[in-house]
């Protein structure tokens, strides 16, 4: 069985895997369903390009509801738009139909993992999902992002999520993710994305295709008191909401 997930993420935001350089900051706020987010930079050097890791986790309540939308706020002066990541667009339809090979190498912006809960009869099964982040086409002048999610066991599925990167925030819409016939939809409970990392792009130089590595997201020269703030708002299908916030501590001077 193949499921099509389409996640729209703005180009600037990616949920990233925790970095080895420093444990990500984590904070939790509670609504009907508790949620937490985490963020981290690697390397942690002001004024330098870095890889941004972002993630969230949702602890469903007694009557869990699927995630419908998410807004992630990040420091507006973070160099997401100027990162040079995603210098070619990937078409969502091609991504859904043919997978990641349908997207130009220059459209890849990052990768990550996710976990979903799949109701199977009386029990709930957790499935791990691999994520790949691409730049999407921009119909409105803003940077758009596509998240391609692939799960294999117990349910084989491919889903594309789409989002838009607005100044200081990433807005993502999560469509209903069907599971098995007559069964409730899949519930997304955890996501970790890395924006940047070891990516290889290509440019034409004197008629030849030359590989290069995009530098990543630029950190500002200065760090706000209390660190770089991140916050997220989660909206669920049943109308409930959850809030979470965190801050990435200011890098220590070297």
């Amino acid at each position: 069985m193949a499921l099509a997930l389409c996640v729209c993420l703005p180009a600037a935001t990616a949920l990233a895997a925790p970095t080895a350089a420093a444990p990500p900051a984590v904070s939790t706020a509670t609504a009907t369903q508790a949620a937490s987010i985490e963020a981290g930079f690697a390397p942690e050097r002001l004024g330098a390009a870095t890889t941004v890791s972002l993630g969230f986790q949702i602890a469903p309540g007694e009557a869990p509801s699927g995630l419908a939308a998410m807004q992630l706020a990040y420091p507006r002066d973070l160099g997401l738009a100027t990162s040079g990541l995603g210098v070619a667009p990937c078409q969502p339809a091609a991504l859904e139909d043919f997978g990641i090979h349908a997207c130009p190498a220059d459209s890849k912006m990052g990768s990550g993992t996710a976990e979903v809960e799949i109701p199977l009869g009386p029990s709930v099964v957790t499935e791990s999902v691999a994520l790949t982040l691409f730049a999407g086409a921009s119909p409105d002048g803003y940077l758009h992002v596509l998240v391609y999610a692939v799960g294999a066991r117990p349910v084989e599925a491919q889903v594309v999520l789409s989002g838009v990167l607005l100044p200081g925030r990433l807005s993502v819409t999560v469509p209903p993710i069907p599971s098995l016939p007559q069964a409730p939809d899949v519930i997304l409970t955890r996501m970790r994305l890395t924006l940047g990392g070891r990516l290889t792009y290509y440019e034409r130089v004197h008629g030849r295709s030359v590989a290069y590595h995009p530098p990543g997201v630029g950190l500002p020269d200065s760090c706000p008191r209390g660190g770089f703030p991140f916050a997220a708002t989660f909206a669920f299908i049943d109308g409930s909401r959850a809030l979470a916030s965190t801050a990435v501590p200011c890098p220590r001077h070297h």
Binding site: A11, G47, D77, T82, G84, A88, G141, H144, P167, G218
Partner: protein, 150 residues
């Protein structure tokens, strides 16, 4: 970001000579048709701000330093100062970025002279600002033009 920057080549075309032309005619009650350009190279980046420098070629040769802001909003902004023979001219401009996912999105907008020094201490005026932003190299290909009263 210096280590990263060192790998990048920044070639920026900027058209700011219009401002200088404006200054040159500051004492005359007339209108100056301006169209000028220059080249800049990357100097520094701080988050969503990119700083480029270079030389201006065109109506008024000199050096220019540009602070370019792109934070994801389609409307980008730039402030710059041109230093030429006899003084400097500062301006600020905004433009809408199109095709932001491409490697070299273009922008077009408006610029306003914000001040000057030396011979251009009283310069005023405005015009059109357009160009191309190279997301790979941080290069800006910028043009400035307009009918500027002086």
């Amino acid at each position: 970001m210096h280590d990263v920057v060192s790998r990048w080549r920044f070639r920026v075309l900027s058209l700011f000579g219009c401002c200088l032309l404006l200054a040159a005619g500051a004492n005359a009650a007339s209108v100056l048709n301006v169209h000028d350009e220059g080249r800049l190279h990357y100097v520094h980046a701080s988050g969503s701000v990119i700083v480029d420098e270079g030389s201006v070629s065109g109506s008024f040769p000199g050096s220019v330093r540009v602070r370019f802001l792109y934070d994801g909003e389609p409307q980008v902004s730039a402030s710059f100062t041109i230093t030429g023979h006899g003084g400097s001219i500062s301006a600020r401009g905004t433009g809408r970025l199109s095709s932001p996912t491409s490697a070299t999105p273009s922008f077009r907008g408006h610029m306003t002279i914000t001040g000057g020094t030396g011979r251009y201490a009283h310069i005023r005026g405005s015009g059109e600002l357009s160009g191309v932003y190279n997301r790979r190299s941080y290069a800006l290909a910028v043009q400035a033009s307009g009918k500027l009263p002086y």
